[in-house]
Subunit: 622 residues, 2 copies
Amino acid sequence: MKKLIFIFSLLVSFSGFCDKPGEVIQVKKTAAITEDATPYVLKKILENKEAKGIKFEKGTYHFYPDKGLTKFVYISNHKDVFVNLAFPIDGFKDFTIDGQGSTFIFHGKMIPFLVDNSENVSIKNVTIDWAMAFHSEGEIIAHNTEEHSFDVRFGDEYPYEIRNGDIYFIKEYYEHDLGQTIIYDKQRRAIAYNDKKFSPIATSQKSTVQHGIDQVKYKYKVDKSDLTLRKVGTESRLNLKQVAPGVVRFYNHKKQLPPIGTILSTKGQQGENRVAPGIRVNNTNNFHLTDVTIHHAGGMGLLVENSEDIYIDRLKITPSGDRMVSTTADATHFVGCRGFIKMTNSLLENQLDDCVNIHGAYQEVVEQLGEKKLGIRMGHHQQEGYVIGKKGDTIGFVKIDESFTPFDKLTIESIERVNQRYQVITFKEKIPKEVVQGDYIENISAYPEVLLENNKFQGNRARGVLLSTPKKAIVRNNYFHSEMEAIFLPVESSKWYESGATSNLLIEGNTFDNCNFGGTSRGIIRLVTDEDNESIAFNDITIRKNIFKMFDNLVLEASNTDELKFEENTILSSDRFPQLYPENPAFILRSSKNVTFKNNDFQGKATKMMESDKSTINVDFQ
Amino acid sequence: MKKLIFIFSLLVSFSGFCDKPGEVIQVKKTAAITEDATPYVLKKILENKEAKGIKFEKGTYHFYPDKGLTKFVYISNHKDVFVNLAFPIDGFKDFTIDGQGSTFIFHGKMIPFLVDNSENVSIKNVTIDWAMAFHSEGEIIAHNTEEHSFDVRFGDEYPYEIRNGDIYFIKEYYEHDLGQTIIYDKQRRAIAYNDKKFSPIATSQKSTVQHGIDQVKYKYKVDKSDLTLRKVGTESRLNLKQVAPGVVRFYNHKKQLPPIGTILSTKGQQGENRVAPGIRVNNTNNFHLTDVTIHHAGGMGLLVENSEDIYIDRLKITPSGDRMVSTTADATHFVGCRGFIKMTNSLLENQLDDCVNIHGAYQEVVEQLGEKKLGIRMGHHQQEGYVIGKKGDTIGFVKIDESFTPFDKLTIESIERVNQRYQVITFKEKIPKEVVQGDYIENISAYPEVLLENNKFQGNRARGVLLSTPKKAIVRNNYFHSEMEAIFLPVESSKWYESGATSNLLIEGNTFDNCNFGGTSRGIIRLVTDEDNESIAFNDITIRKNIFKMFDNLVLEASNTDELKFEENTILSSDRFPQLYPENPAFILRSSKNVTFKNNDFQGKATKMMESDKSTINVDFQ
């Protein structure tokens, strides 16, 4: 006879706090709640849509997916996933989640906070972590130089299994294989110096046997990088063996052996490995994040889409315990936001992608379906389901291989999402005949003003700040120590369909501390587009009163830029790392005009100051 | 400059047929429509919810997913998937889809007809097929006996790639690896005789290296067969090589080499390979299927859930062209249906699973959440999202290891689906204290009366008819030629959580033509439960006036049965196939009582007529 284990204790909890509209839900740290807070919190959230907030007695709360609310979510730059939620903040107004210093530990594929269609939502005083990470880490403990193999020790917190030469790390409700890898320096708690020499580990190779595959025809354009189609033509090249319990030998490595004592981070296949971001905000006005720490997420720390007025103060993205890695993708990421994005006094470190990325989204014209109606297509599989704007927004039409400036603008009347790739937009005006298949559209209304001030960006893979907005932006008094460029102004049109040509940007008073240490030959600040044309993408960029500590030469790379001022900056030579590219100049200009360099204090190593192409004109270098 | 290719022709089509409520949408076979009918049909369906039907000018229409309506669907006994739809029949009343003899060719992951929440819907005069099948077929052309390998030739319609020793068949928007296999006899166009000797091909083996995996703990019960967890502990054992273009050598085969000239069918991994059933009906009353042919589906042909009164006449499930395989799972399947299921004059052949399966669903008690409230859990990952009933239904509570008969019954007040595995049911009455964690619940109200008459069931993998309903059922004048048992009455509680103990069944006037030729030692008619107990599962079963053509001995296996009559049947000896189990008796009885055999004409081979255990009592064998 089985045991009676009915949860009457929960019943007591459930009935103990009947909340009235306008009041704040109080959560006590009873064992019944802290051991799995999901069902209690979920019930409270769903039953009290009029509440003004939820407050937790300070403590550690676990959240399991088993009794969480299922929601399917299209998430930009993530895998579109089903997640089980404890906090489905959908349609809330003036609502505050206050952890009062609590720690929330999540288990498996959950999104800690999912905020949709809301107004004036705050999250504060809470720390987010996962019991088991979505990535894994191991220490390089030996080289076997004759056979060019190396040994990695994985600790008890990273259980694994080897299947047919690949390694699979087993988590709660999740697993990942080797996939994307990078090397961390344990002492510096940052990506290893010149890491590009050692990683990533090549996991796949061309498959050699195919038969008749060119007979698979598609009527419409397909995305060859989509999760099914990308597999065609490749196979695994991994050959891993366990040489002692917890110690795995990596054969067949194409690059230099990673230094002994460094840490290998692995997170599984690109496209499959972003399944549980920390906080996701969508279609929400006035979102505040204050005194929040995110130790980990299986994806980005904070992802905001199609929202307005975002205020972030004292956010920490930083690993817990001995982990090298915090979040497995960008610390923060903003798509199609408007109004204001303000981030201050924050520390974003050690995550596996950029610190801040702010941009719009291009979509592609497929066909005209009426005088005012267009069929459009999402270009990238991680943009699936993304809706480009709302009624009244101004859509710009761009011929991306000719110019980044819209050749025409129309107003959205309505958008119908037919499927994850295909939508139909009805405009208020007639569609001009210049619009043809393959043109890009961008939402001119959906770009934000930006202030990033007094933040620290360090230790992560990839860039510091990526900015793509034509609105006013200020990057002031921040500290950067990034393995790639510190500030990158891109137009990532070709691969990522990320829109936004930046103008009116002030970069002032920042310290760039030996960035680009990962091994790429790039400027600390870099303005570069994906496209080959010479048209202007960036306009009115001022870089002044910054300090550049430089172990290498290249300070600034700018292309397709008009009105660039580089003034009163101090460039110092540093011996923090050995120099990598002594032949580089300090500044590279391409297809740019009206550039001024003045009153800079240059103490750098570069012997050649400036390199520019013949399409660059009117440079005043003092 | 890119080409202007706007679809003004479509505009004309779109505006040509404005339909009034109550009228029938007419679809003409213009090139703009037939080349991809999806956007046109979808628009018509969505804009004419009051229409009484849609009629197609006779022709061949292609349906692509690219512009189809995305819908996520939980599908019983399938992978839960996103599909793109042309026919989202949701909330329709008195609606008829009439192909007027047309053929609809689908491309990729679509469900041709998805019917939800509707009343009185008919589909008629239409043939469904896919351009590229979700399975693949190849002919065995050589044996290499020394190394125990065999060679398979795959035709041009099955493009493939070999990756790391496994074969991947590349389709439109889809691929599958070897996975589940079976052998067909090309001449007989059916599963090969004694196929169990040759297939399936073993694709996986135990992985040998694990480290620390027992440290991954779960707070709640988990389903080890779920798509993530099942991977732990296994790896591929395949070692396939192309020996000539289109010819692949299979090494490492554990069974006998499949005969030269037979056809290997492969469809990818179990759990992953059912993504596009032909017709799916859910929560609908009065559904009619008349003169419909389904040549193929990536899953079941027709799947009906939680619906009432289903009428099927002249349905054909049969492969097109040279294909051996029709649908890649059951021809027809009914879960939680009520009212009447009537299937007449139909041909169900060559699909990769049962012809007809009618059952309910068990779910498991997790915890009590209030006097009238239970948390319950779906047992099987392919039952995820299934809702067991609606307000007013009677739920029976079963202690499955003791008895199949409910020990108590309650009435549903409401059901809340929290996530795909966990739901909360509120009852009208208080929950009795006998209910404990681990008890099963079944919906007593959701069983149908059944009539299967004048149908032909042949050539498929697995069983003919599976019946699990306590309501009146008649199986009359059908022809069976199935490789496993022709009629199976199960209680598949342990693995599949399929409920329903059958009573009041008449099996009359059928011809059982040499069934069980696939190699299993089973009765042509078989009444067997998953559980080890001796309680009665089946009651009032009459088998009379049937003809059994028998190449082997075993006619009937019955366990846990009360009131079984086997009368006026003719058992003939056949030399259609060599005998497999000469030691078997003709009849096996276990844990049964009140069994009558009389007036049968036995001309079979069996030398031993009857085998029964000591818990079987009151058998009258004349």
